[in-house]
């Protein structure tokens, strides 16, 4: 744990503030360019949205500097650029959605700051393993509750209480990562022990296998009851990855893959909508099917990206409005149309930086909980990005999840900023021991 002993402190924050300023220039610049490209003039909302970004980014940068001085200087600015590019694309698609998204950016940045201020040391969270886990599971399953659950686009993901609708699974995702980090850190020695198995595939005793099977069951439940393919895949992926990292046992990874294959096979056999997703994936451009609704949507995303080509049509100058669900599921295709392959690869590289920095924070963290937490959070961002970008570009069947920080959507944006705050927190290292006590 030699890294923990390295001096951390203010010198890193100069870079962080410079990066954040650059992120602000990119975010506001993209949004102004989108306005110029679309209407030929600087957006009239510049003062309003510009100040939301300026004040929000500055506040976040200062909170990091004040409350997490040792934090990685690239984490927040990277997410900030993604948020800005997403906002510019949403603004370009719909002024109304941009107004909502700007509000959510403000709330998300607020949640980011509050999280950093409240959680002074990530190990604070380690004390509430089961409380957090319970809240996470409840949030995950909340949409099933009759009366408040809402089905949108075939998936039961939404909860509506009065006028406020939200996707509780988004914040549930973060809480479950926290729970798993805490739980697996405590149980990892137990789970490491292999007592039986076949050949070289050694497995731990059945009672310790239970969590794997339980998570598998929960994922299937999400798939069955909420019909949410993307989330189900994501939860299970995060769980298996964290289990493997915690125990160091490849058997869990293999078992996880096996269970995933079983679950996927069963899902395919049992559900029409899963079969449809697979068929759409394989035949989205088939002349005989391309005019059908589901196929056409995915095809339009391909057409948008193909129109963008290498350098794109320019912000505000393409027709990403032709892509269905462009502000949410297909925002990556909308970016591809107007910013081209340079833009999409750039976005992917930003995620590589984000995830890489997250894993770097995990490696640098002296405690097991922090390591697992950062690994889980980084893996969540990576897997979610892969699931949606892979779906949009037809690497895998499309399952509707948001593109972190980029897609339109309040629940997603706010919970991703909370996730980012936790990553920043882990990267900042343990809180200095103060006379008051604490750490």
């Amino acid at each position: 744990m030699s890294q923990a002993a390295l001096p951390r402190g203010r010198p890193r924050q100069g870079a962080q503030i410079a990066f954040t300023a650059l992120a602000l220039v990119i975010a506001v610049g993209a949004y102004v360019l989108a306005g110029l490209g679309k209407r030929g003039q600087v957006p009239i909302t510049l003062a309003l949205y510009g100040s939301i970004f300026a004040v929000g980014f500055a506040a976040a940068a200062l909170v990091i500097r004040r409350f997490a001085p040792g934090a990685d200087p690239a984490l927040f600015p990277t997410a900030a650029v993604l948020t800005g590019l997403g906002f510019a694309t949403i603004f370009r698609l719909s002024g109304g959605l941009a107004a909502e998204q700007a509000t959510w950016v403000a709330i998300g940045l607020g949640a980011f700051c509050i999280t950093l201020v409240l959680v002074r040391d990530h190990r604070q969270l380690d004390a509430y393993t089961y409380t957090i886990g319970l809240i996470g599971i409840v949030l995950l399953l909340l949409p099933i509750v009759p009366g408040i659950g809402r089905t949108i686009n075939g998936a039961r993901l939404w909860v509506k209480v009065g006028p406020i609708g939200f996707q509780p699974s988004e914040i549930g995702k973060v809480l479950i990562v926290v729970f798993l980090a805490s739980y697996l850190n405590q149980k990892r020695e137990l789970l490491r022990v292999a007592t039986g198995g076949v050949g070289r595939l050694r497995l731990p005793p059945a009672k310790h296998l239970m969590p794997v099977l339980l998570a598998w069951g929960a994922s299937l439940a999400v798939l069955f009851i909420q019909r949410d393919l993307g989330a189900s895949l994501l939860y299970f992926g995060i769980f298996v990855v964290m289990l493997w990292v915690a125990t160091g046992r490849l058997a869990y990874l293999l078992l996880g893959l096996l269970l995933f294959a079983l679950g996927a096979g069963f899902g395919y056999a049992a559900f029409d909508h899963v079969q449809l997703r697979v068929d759409v994936w394989l035949h989205a451009l088939d002349p005989a099917k391309v005019f059908d609704v589901g196929y056409g949507q995915l095809a339009q995303a391909q057409f948008g990206m193909a129109t963008g080509g290498l350098v794109g049509t320019g912000l505000g100058q393409g027709s990403p409005g032709l892509i269905p669900f462009a502000p949410t599921d297909f925002i990556f295709a909308a970016i591809g149309e107007e910013l081209g392959m340079l833009g999409t690869v750039g976005v992917l590289l930003l995620y590589v930086v984000l995830v890489g920095k997250g894993l770097q924070a995990a490696l640098a963290c002296p405690d097991g909980f922090g390591r697992l937490l950062a690994t889980g959070l980084a893996a969540a961002v990576a897997l979610q990005t892969f699931v949606i970008v892979g779906g949009v570009t037809r690497v895998i069947p499309l399952t509707g999840v948001t593109l972190p920080f980029v897609s339109y959507g309040g629940s997603s944006l706010v919970s991703n900023f909370v996730l980012l705050a936790l990553l920043v927190r882990v990267s900042a290292g343990p809180a200095p021991v103060r006379p008051k006590g604490g750490g």
Binding site: P287, F303, M305, A306, L322, M341, L359, V389, G390
Partner: protein
């Protein structure tokens, strides 16, 4: 744990590499194939309308028949036709719902700037980041003549075709009713659909040109074809033919009468020239029966007629329905039809452009020039990128016989049925036609002509449908000849 995190980092990086590979495949390597997908119509459309489409110009190179202008909407350029219906059947329309027609369709490669001849310029535009610009089409249409023809035809249903016999240049091509291509080419889908529905529901079929798309019995104007066949088969203008008051049609109890039921003047025998001057149905029926269907068909086909409506082979820059003269086998069991066909009835069919080609061939010493509507293509920089030279279509008559037939047609206008086309100081050659097309229906009035007879500069064919303003009293001489006269006068004034 540390090792697993590093392995995880590598695994996740692999996932991102897969995504980058796929993104470059979709956006670059497969981009062209995706752009051509049938479901990609909307983007193809947007790309199509990104182009500053070339103009369609009259022969003077200045009068704009169709041009693009910037549009405020999602589609960048909008097509405009400054003269509305006047040139609609020539330019066609350019609709994002219903596609293109006529020149807009036939010369789309040039107009849209995709023709290989334009590669140099479009490449330069691309390098300089300018929008792609299309080339302009210069037509052979004389805008003054087009105006005169339209004015002379007025609101009467029918068509006018004027051709330069020496080159085949189409100088004017007018048809009533026409339509305004502007609403069809607008960017308002509701307007486009409503206009399209109304135009297609219109029983008058305004989208089709009476001058070149539809077919009508040519009536007595076809006698110049029959006369040409007689001359080509050795019967001179002075050859004599029996001149009864009616002709017994073979195999039937029917008889063929002259127009008005009278006997042609000149005694019991009459010359070929005199029969044409008086437009004697009886005599031309005899001539047809004497020559036989094979000779008639051969002559008609040489002028550009075809055995059926879909086998015509006269090349033209826009769709052109050539005339129809049935295959000789058709007459094997229908002998009376030979006599009727010789006077342009039964299944013989034509339109003004076809008849103008016949007149032009006679006027041009028997050499029929291919009709030409487009003379050159000019790139957006004004450079001529393609020129279309006049081309011969056929030689349906010898020069000697063409001269003889010209003299016979001059007589028609000087002292026959076509006196209404006389122009002081100009020798006009012509032939009238009053074509029956159904019991109790007012006839179609025809006039086919060229002038000056000794050195023809223009050939004009006119049809006024369904008796025009004169109803059942309509004749080619009364109704169609004055229209042809007006066009000839204007053409020779130029």
């Amino acid at each position: 744990m540390e090792r697993q995190i590093r392995q995880l980092a590598v695994a996740l990086l692999v996932l991102f590499v897969v995504l980058v590979a796929q993104v470059s495949y979709v956006q670059v390597f497969a981009a062209e194939r995706l752009a051509e997908n049938p479901a990609n119509a909307k983007r193809q459309l947007i790309a199509e309308y990104e182009v500053d489409r070339g103009a369609i110009l009259a022969a003077d190179g200045r009068t704009v028949l169709a041009a693009s202008r910037k549009s405020a909407g999602e589609l960048r350029y909008e097509r405009r036709y400054p003269f509305g219906p006047l040139y609609a059947h020539l330019t066609g329309y350019y609709s994002f719902v219903y596609g293109r027609s006529e020149l807009e369709q036939e010369f789309n490669d040039f107009l849209a700037g995709t023709a290989p001849q334009l590669l140099r310029q479009t490449f330069a535009d691309m390098v300089l980041g300018r929008p792609r610009r299309g080339a302009s089409i210069v037509t052979t249409i004389d805008p003054v003549l087009q105006d005169v023809a339209q004015e002379a035809l007025g609101d009467l249903p029918g068509g006018v075709a004027a051709i330069d016999p020496r080159t085949g240049d189409v100088l004017a091509l007018v048809a009533n009713p026409s339509y305004d291509p502007n609403p069809l080419s607008s960017h308002d889908p509701a307007l486009v659909r409503a206009t399209w529905t109304a135009l297609n529901a219109d029983p008058d079929k305004p989208l089709l040109s009476r001058a070149s798309d539809e077919l009508y019995p040519p009536g007595s104007t076809f006698k110049i074809v029959t006369a040409a066949a007689a001359l080509e088969n050795g019967y001179g203008p002075d050859s004599t033919w029996p001149n009864p008051s009616e002709l017994d049609l073979p195999d039937t109890v029917e008889t063929l009468e002259n127009f008005g039921g009278a006997t042609c003047s000149g005694g019991s025998e009459i010359t070929l020239a005199e029969a044409l001057r008086q437009s004697c149905n009886v005599v031309f029926g005899e001539i047809g029966l004497t020559l036989g269907p094979a000779a008639l068909a051969e002559q008609a086909w040489a002028f550009g007629f075809a055995p059926t409506a879909d086998t015509g082979d006269v090349p033209f820059d826009i769709p052109f329905q050539t005339g129809v003269f049935p295959d000789p086998s058709y007459f094997a069991t229908r002998r009376p039809a030979v006599a009727l066909s010789a006077i342009g009835q039964d299944n013989v069919a034509a339109n003004p452009l076809q008849m103008a080609l016949v007149a032009a061939a006679i006027a041009n010493g028997g050499l029929e020039m291919q009709p030409r509507l487009v003379s050159e293509v000019r790139g957006a920089d004004g450079r001529v990128v393609e020129t279309y030279e006049p081309e011969a279509y056929s030689q349906p008559m010898s020069p000697e016989n063409a001269a003889l037939l010209t003299a016979m047609m001059v007589d028609v206008v000087e002292s026959g049925t076509g006196t209404a086309a006389q122009i002081p100081g100009i020798t006009v050659a012509g032939k009238t036609g009053t074509a029956q097309h159904g019991e109790g229906l007012a006839p179609h009035a025809w006039f086919v002509s060229f002038a000056p007879a000794e050195d023809a500069q223009v050939a004009v064919a006119v049809i006024v449908l369904d008796g025009g303003s004169l109803g059942s009293d309509a004749t080619g001489g009364a109704l169609a000849a004055p229209i042809a006269k007006a066009v000839i006068e204007a053409a020779l004034d130029r």
